[in-house]
Symmetry: C2
Subunit: 340 residues, 2 copies
C-alpha cells in the first residue's frame, strides 16, 4: 500500500509561493499563527524537567532567574541524569558564570575547578552524542524504534505504521535531498526540539540553536560530566553538533546571560573574581519556589506546521520577497508560560 | 576552451574529508590559518569607509566606541551615500540607542522622531535591495559586469575572462545545486562581504549575518533613509535578506551593543528615556579621532579559501565529526587592526 508518509510530510521547509501584495495582507505572521493555536496543540512541560537557576541580583537589586528545560529521551539522558544529581546535591550553589564570549556562549560552573563532584555521576561515552534509532533505510527495524522514541508523533500520525518499505525508502531519500539545512540533511523539529538526523544510518541528534544548553568538556574522548554548562548566545554554532552533548534549552531569562559583559580573557573567560556572576542556587523545577507552568507548541501539530511554513516564507505585509527556506534554528519552537 | 571556472572553484562549502584521529592533529584550526595568512592577502579598509560611533561611557566610566565598516559598491550605495551625509552633518550626535531585542537587533536613531533630516537625502527604491549584474546565464552580458563589480576578484583570477559560455552555464548550475546555504543558492563571500546571489537572474545581495548593519524602515514601499540603523546581535535573521537594506557591519565594539540590557517594550524598545543609551557622536573614520587602521582577509585569497574549508569541516583536535558544510554566516570574514 502506498501512501504519503507523514514522517516527512510536515517538513519545515516549503517552497515559496509567489504572492501579490494584495494576497500578502491575508497571510498571518508566524506569531499570529502561534497565538491562534488550539489549547490541545500545546504540551505541558513537567516541573521536574526544569532546571531553575537564580543568579545574584543585578546592580539595581533586580532578581535574575534563568529557567532551563532539560532535554527528554531519546537524547543525552546520561548527562541529564548527572545534571539531576548535581541539582539535587545543590552542587551549583555558590558557583558562578565564568565565561561570556560574544556571539558564542555563556558558561557556568566551578571557577576553582577544585570542588568535589557528588558520588554516582556516570561517565558518558561519545557515542551518546547521537541517538541510534534502528538502521535508517531498513523500515522494519527503524519504524518501531522511531515511533517508540517519539510517542507524540505516533499518536498524531497512527497511519504511519502502515507505510510500505519501498515507499518509505523513496520518501526518506526525497526528504534528505529536499532539506534546506546545510548542517543536517534530515533536520526537523521532532518531539518538541530542533534535531538533525541521518536517516541513512539511523542517527538523530539535537542541534546547537540559540539558547540551547550544552556540556562543557575538555579534549576528546572526555565528554564532560554536566557540571560545567554553557548556553548559546549567538549565531548557531552548528559545527558543535555531534561534537558536544546538548542537554536542554533556556526557556526564560536568557537575557540575564546574553546581556552580561563579555569576558576579556581568552575565549571570553572573565579574568577577575569580581567579574564572575554568582549563582545563588540551581534547583530542579519541582524543588524550586514560585516556578510558573510552561508549555510548548507540539512540533507535530497543524499549527506548528503552518508556523514553520510561515517562518520559511514570510508573507506578512512587511516582507517583499519570502526567503523560500529557513534553517532549523530560524524556526524556534514556541514556548510560553501556561495561562492559569 | 574548457577550463575550471574560478568563479565557483573557491566555493566556501566543501565535502568533509574522512580523517583519522592521527591525521586530525596535523590540521590547523581556522584561527591558525588566518594567523598564517600572508601580508598581501589582507586588504586595507579606507578610514573614509568607517563610521565611528561613540556611546556615552558605561556605568564605570569606560568609553564605548563602536566601529562600523560601510559596505562598498556594488551594494546599497544609495543608503550609504545618505549615511555619509548624516555623519557629515553630525546628525546622530545626541540621539540614542532605543531598542535592544534579544537574539535579534540593537537599533539606534532619533527617539523623538521629530529631528529634521539634512537636505539632499535620496529616496532609494526597493529595487536597490539587490544588485543587478548582467542577466545571469548569459555569459557575455554577465561576466564583464561581474568583473567590474568585483575588481579584486578579476585581479586574482584573470583567466576567468577566457571561460566559454557553455561551460559557464554548466558550472553556474552546478554551483547553484551544490551550495549548502538554505537562504541563497548562490551564496558566497564576495568582495570581502557575505552575499547571496541568484545567478539565474543575475541578482546579488548582502546577507544578514551577526553584526551586519541595516536600515530601519516602515512598511513597504518605504525603504528608510539610513537615519535609523540597526545591528544584528543574534542568530542570522536571513528572512530579512532582500527585504531591508544592509549598509555595513560592526568590525569593533559590537559587545558595547550586544551586552546592553534588553528593552522591555514591544519589539525590545526601551520604555523609559533613562534606559536609552546616549550617542555622543558619529563620525566618518577620516573625521574621527584616534581611529586605528583596519584590514580584512581578502575573500579571493588562498588563505580565505582554506579558512572557509576549515570552518565547514573542523578537523582540529577538539572535533570528532566535521559538519561537512557551513552556512555563509558561520564563515565570518576575518577583520583585524592593522599592525604598525
Amino acid at each position: 500500500m502506498k501512501r504519503y508518509l507523514p514522517l516527512f510530510a510536515s517538513a519545515a521547509i516549503c517552497a515559496a509561493l509567489p504572492v501579490s501584495a494584495q494576497d500578502a495582507k491575508t497571510y498571518p505572521a508566524p506569531s499570529e499563527i502561534v497565538a491562534a493555536a488550539k489549547a490541545d496543540e500545546w504540551v505541558a512541560i513537567a516541573p521536574s524537567d526544569l532546571l531553575v537557576m537564580d543568579l545574584a541580583p543585578d546592580s539595581k537589586g533586580k532578581p535574575r532567574r534563568v529557567v532551563i528545560q532539560l532535554i527528554p529521551a531519546p537524547f543525552s539522558q546520561g548527562w541529564v541524569s548527572n545534571i539531576r544529581k548535581l541539582a539535587a546535591a545543590h552542587w551549583w550553589d555558590g558557583t558562578s558564570i565564568n565565561r561570556v564570549q560574544d556571539n558564542y556562549v555563556v558558561q557556568w560552573g566551578d571557577a576553582t575547578e577544585k570542588k568535589s563532584l557528588p558520588a554516582g555521576l556516570a561517565v558518558v561515552p561519545e557515542s551518546e552524542y547521537v541517538t541510534q534509532i534502528g538502521k535508517g533505510f531498513d523500515l522494519k527495524n527503524f519504524l518501531p524504534n522511531f515511533l517508540a522514541a517519539f510517542p507524540d508523533y505516533a499518536k498524531k500520525f497512527p497511519e504511519v505504521a502502515e507505510i510500505d518499505s519501498k515507499e518509505f525508502e523513496i520518501q526518506l531519500k526525497r526528504r534528505m535531498e529536499s532539506t534546506a539545512d546545510p548542517y543536517a540533511k534530515g533536520n526537523r523539529n521532532l518531539g518538541g526540539w530542533p534535531t538533525g538526523g541521518n536517516y541513512e544510518n539511523g542517527t538523530f541528534w539535537p542541534t546547537h540553536c540559540y539558547a540551547m544548553v550544552g556540556v562543557g568538556r575538555n579534549l576528546s574522548p572526555d565528554t564532560g560530566t554536566g557540571a560545567e554548562l554553557y548556553a548559546v548566545i549567538g549565531h548557531a554554532p552548528r559545527h558543535l553538533d555531534r561534537n558536544i552533548a546538548l542537554v536542554g534549552r533556556v526557556i526564560e531569562g536568557i537575557e540575564h546571560m546574553s546581556s552580561l559583559p563579555r569576558g576579556t580573557g581568552a575565549l571570553g573567560f572573565y579574568e577577575k573574581e569580581e567579574e564572575r556572576v554568582p549563582i545563588l542556587s540551581v534547583r530542579l523545577g519541582n524543588e524550586a519556589k514560585d516556578v510558573p507552568a510552561f508549555e510548548y507548541l507540539s512540533t507535530d501539530s497543524d499549527s506548528f506546521a503552518a508556523y514553520a511554513d510561515a517562518r520559511a516564507n514570510r508573507r506578512d505585509p512587511f516582507f517583499n520577497i519570502p526567503a523560500g527556506g529557513a534553517d532549523i534554528c530560524n524556526i524556534p519552537v514556541p514556548i510560553r508560560r501556561k495561562a492559569n
